[in-house]
Symmetry: C2
Subunit: 222 residues, 2 copies
């Protein structure tokens, strides 16, 4: 399957690209507003994978070209770029494209990180509202520390959560998530339940800030 | 140390009472609006502990009498009773009493459970606002499934989170939390960070609802 990572040059994009390229045979497409940057990063990922003994082709494109070619399109951009990014690729999305959103709206102050969803209630709901109606939307991969995800030397042994109103699309995203070694995907329900899922991201950052040796902490539900 | 569980006849109160009575030598006081109900439940807990080979005295009181006698006062009541309960015991609280709040504001609809904090931002913030200013307030023990906590046959092997603005009080609550076997207590920062902590409760309920064999699921941060 082809998986496009829009904003695939950023850290969550890098982590997902490397894990999927390393652990699966899915074709990985890196998207960026700047295709030269996407190609340069794709080459970097190839070199990294090669150094781990895994020869893979990773290709770079504009976000639109990457989205056009892919079955799964991950919006690996910060929350405040989500709307612009969807609008820039909306013409090439259709009912056969699944839009995946791992972004979370947060504010930092001196106390820590705070969940600040957009007015529609969650970033996942914002993606649902912004994307064409026939494009399935799935919230997933929010609570994975980017550094840990991108470090292929580290075993994950973590859970991540999916939310979505289209059961088939959610199931497919859960399946490709579980193909990443050490990652278990749990179903947290519909998009209405996205705020509780997205809130885990500021929480794990606060835990990392307030406890020793918990840098890059993740979560398991047991 | 004396620990009072106001609303200690309810399920989270029962779980904490049984665990502390079983795993520690702290004196456990069960509070209720109805002292007869408190005494009846306290006897029930004694019988349960006895059947597990642990002979303990557990006493029942009115909430006010229990709070008056204790160093740690746990508001083990639903979120919508928190304010009334604090007001009913405010006269006997002082700077040497630590008020602990595990309650979470939630709404259920057909999609699942949703985090609905009071207007001040969190139940912990509401407790802070309602309690006398010199009484330290700590949010803790939110995300523990009551049935699992109350079943002494089950190993917990779980994390729970504390938030609070008084470091000494928070440290003491963390210490008595860690005295419960299989429970690790992590610091999530100040009361401003309580919403992200309280949000875990509806999340684990949604996970339990949407996945097989995850009834009474808890959380570990790894």
């Amino acid at each position: 399957m082809r998986i496009a990572l829009l904003g695939g040059t950023g850290d969550i994009g890098e982590g997902l690209a490397l894990r999927w390229a390393y652990d699966t045979d899915h074709e990985i497409l890196i998207g960026s507003r700047d295709p030269d940057k996407a190609r340069a990063k794709a080459e970097e990922y190839e070199t990294e994978l090669d150094s781990m003994g895994r020869e893979r082709t990773v290709k770079g494109f504009t976000n639109e070209m990457a989205a056009d070619r892919a079955r799964i399109v991950v919006l690996a951009v910060p929350a405040y770029y989500v709307r612009d990014t969807i609008e820039s690729v909306a013409d090439v999305l259709d009912e056969d494209t699944i839009l995946v959103t791992p972004a979370v709206g947060m504010d930092r102050d001196e106390e820590g990180m705070h969940y600040k969803p957009p007015g529609v209630g969650s970033v996942t709901a914002l993606v649902r509202k912004t994307a064409p109606d026939d494009v399935p939307v799935v919230g997933a991969f929010h609570n994975l520390a980017a550094d840990r995800l991108a470090n292929l030397d580290v075993d994950l042994d973590l859970d991540t959560l999916v939310v979505g109103d289209d059961g088939d699309a959610k199931g497919l995203v859960a399946d490709i998530g579980e193909e990443i070694e050490g990652l278990r995907v749990l179903d947290a329900g519909g998009i209405a339940n996205a705020p509780e899922v997205e809130s885990v991201t500021p929480l794990v950052i606060n835990i990392a800030m307030n406890n020793e040796k918990m840098h890059d902490v993740g979560v398991r539900f047991l």
